[in-house]
């Protein structure tokens, strides 16, 4: 099923990518071509075949819940774009409707 430029613009919004019109024009036909190629998996007869999410077969790897050394607040905040009062400072999250 071909993918339209509008659908690619929708995917960009879902992906939180503020793409320019030029980028959408460039990427839309490429994504259409890639999706057509990967859709080949639909030819495979796989009824009743279980999915593999992970190759090792490991499940539920737990450790004991014990205190251990961890990053200091200064280390954790060292790469932050903005910091205030020993916290990550971010742009406003709530937007007036």
């Amino acid at each position: 099923m071909p993918i339209t430029r509008d659908e690619v613009a929708h995917l960009a919004r879902l992906s939180r990518l503020a793409l320019s019109d030029a980028e959408l024009d460039h990427l839309a036909p490429q994504l259409d071509q890639i999706i057509a190629a990967v859709a080949q998996v639909q030819e495979v007869a796989a009824d009743g075949i279980p999915p593999t999410t992970h190759a090792t077969g490991l499940t539920n790897v737990f450790r004991d819940d014990e205190p251990a050394p961890c990053l200091t607040p200064e280390q954790a905040l060292a790469g932050a774009p903005a910091v205030e009062l020993q916290r990550f400072k971010v742009p406003r999250i709530l937007v007036e409707e």
């Binding site: 993918i3 659908e7 690619v8 995917l11 960009a12 919004r13 879902l14 992906s15 939180r16 990518l17 503020a18 793409l19 320019s20 980028e23 460039h26 990427l27 490429q30 994504l31 071509q33 890639i34 999706i35 190629a37 990967v38 859709a39 080949q40 998996v41 639909q42 030819e43 495979v44 796989a46 075949i49 279980p50 999915p51 593999t52 999410t53 992970h54 190759a55 090792t56 490991l58 790897v61 450790r63 990053l71 280390q75 954790a76 060292a78 790469g79 932050a80 774009p81 903005a82 990550f88 971010v90 742009p91 406003r92 999250i93 937007v95």
Partner: protein
């Protein structure tokens, strides 16, 4: 050329341990080489000159104090720029992480430091390990030391180029769909993708978590095994790490006996699209293995032809989730104005390159409601069928062989804006990642058409990594004997 930079890691560490040469001299020789050639190769994004010399002084002081030295004492290692390293930036080849200094050390680099290795610098890569040429790096491509107009492969192309250019005897890479084996093949060196879970992903910036596997590069098989052994083993910090002994890879690399070994040629990995020179070297090498006593049979893995499409659903799906963390809030680039969500979208648009955007959107599409069963769900079933193909094959043979990649190194720019053509570079390597097996690329000659290196791909079952090194050592010994010198010494791209 300073003799120290041509030495193997095994010989360097022996010489440092014996006191024949100091770790500082070894490190200085490699820094000098980087200074001399990296302007043309561009293998490195960051060279830790001062820090490397201080690591080397610590090794020399430990020796002077009579302390025991690690197995890689004084050996410089180039590190793909997605392993977190305290004291050196980690960019993943992306502008979104430009200038970021990680607050903690990856398990693998921590183990190398403990083994006495010198972390000499961080190497170039396709952004977030997405690519087969390093052309997707946000900082410009690396160049193949055999021919500077050609790509070094990717995504770990900087690491492969650094080793092939004698800038470091060892390097670290990661392999998600072929990102160690394909660059090793096209640069004429050795590279291994260990069994998934055999080497820790802790501190490795995630691309596709169910596939990402850290592994070694070196100029010869024994050095590759030495690095493989040091970097591997169970890590409680990685929940997918396998709690089992490291396969005896070093012993296997020293052995190299393939007599009686059952080797299967995968007939599905040949035919249209494979360069004649690649197939000629492959066929000759299979005949060579047979002459050394291996029992060679041909067999088919019928679902391998669906590995590439399944991979380009699974890997982008995982990447669209993993790369959601780059939101401009806690680390890395922040740009734009407005609400947090608007800043996030502007930051990601400015910080990610084209291929990363393509894959995030492809993964978002594959995981969308209404498409999930037809794409991601189906790809996961195909993954099971590929594992079943491997199981059936390994019930008949000990290892499988194929070319590593259908062509030799292509020219810079040739596939840069043709994603499907670029993806074909990983045609032979992807099945191993989907199954979680181990595989190696070992040089097996030069293609007739272009004189560029060709690699033999050997695949083994999970936790049978040692079998790879037996085959690779046999091939290396036979070729070096026939040529009278290692293949890499025929590279004239840098030192004509």
């Amino acid at each position: 050329m300073n003799e120290l930079i041509k030495m193997s890691a095994a010989d360097l560490s022996a010489a440092v341990t014996a006191g024949d040469v100091s770790a500082v001299e070894v490190t200085a020789a490699h820094l000098e080489r980087i200074d001399a050639v990296d302007g043309r190769v561009h293998a490195f994004l960051h060279v830790s000159a001062e820090d490397a010399l201080s690591q080397a002084r610590a090794v020399d002081q430990a020796r002077a104090a009579g302390e025991p030295l690690g197995p890689l004492a004084g050996v410089p290692v180039a590190v793909k720029d997605l392993f977190t390293t305290v004291g050196a930036p980690t960019t993943c080849g992306s502008k979104i992480l430009e200038g970021w200094y990680p607050p903690y050390e990856s398990t693998v680099t921590g183990r190398l430091r403990a083994a006495g290795a010198i972390l000499i610098g961080k190497t170039n890569m396709d952004e977030f390990a997405m690519g087969s040429s390093t052309e997707n790096s946000g900082y410009g491509p690396s160049h193949n030391p055999w021919d500077l107009d050609r790509v070094p492969g990717g995504s770990s192309g900087g690491s492969a180029a650094a080793v092939a250019a004698y800038e470091a005897p060892l390097a670290l890479g990661t392999d998600t769909g072929g990102s160690i084996r394909q660059p090793a093949s096209v640069c004429g060196i050795v590279g291994t993708k260990p069994t998934y879970g055999g080497s820790s992903r802790y501190g490795v910036v995630a691309f596709a978590s169910s596939l990402d596997t850290p592994g070694p590069f070196a100029r010869n098989v024994l050095d590759t095994a030495l690095l493989h052994e040091v970097m591997s083993g169970h890590d409680p910090f990685d929940s997918t790490s396998i709690d089992a002994p490291v396969p005896a890879v070093v012993a296997a690399a020293r052995n190299g006996d393939v007599s009686g070994m059952r080797i299967g040629v995968v007939t599905d990995l040949s035919g249209a699209g494979y360069q004649p020179g690649v197939m000629n070297r492959f066929t000759e090498t299979v005949e060579l293995l047979e002459s050394l006593g291996a029992k060679v049979t041909e067999l088919s893995c019928p679902h391998f032809k669906y590995a590439l499409p399944a991979y380009y659903l699974i890997a982008p799906s995982e990447c669209s989730s993993n790369l959601a963390r780059f939101d401009g809030m806690r680390f890395g680039l922040r740009t734009g104005s407005g609400s947090a969500e608007e800043v996030m979208a502007q930051t990601r648009a400015a910080g990610f390159g084209t291929e990363v955007k393509r894959r995030i959107m492809l993964g978002t599409h594959a995981l969308s409601s209404g498409y999930y069963d037809a794409y991601y769900g189906k790809a996961q079933q195909v993954r099971t069928l590929i594992i079943q193909d491997f199981d059936a094959a390994f019930s008949q043979v000990d290892v499988l062989v194929s070319p590593v990649t259908p062509t030799t190194a292509f020219r810079l720019g040739e596939r840069a804006d043709d994603p499907m053509a670029m993806y074909l570079a990983d045609l032979c390597t992807i099945p191993t990642n989907l199954a979680g097996n181990a595989a190696i690329s070992v040089p097996c000659g030069l293609a007739d058409e272009d004189g560029m290196p060709v690699g033999l791909h050997v695949m083994a079952p999970p936790l049978a990594d040692d079998r790879l090194y037996r085959v690779a050592a046999a091939v290396e010994t036979a070729f070096t004997g026939r040529l009278g010198h290692p293949l890499l010494t025929e590279s004239k791209g840098l030192d004509a």
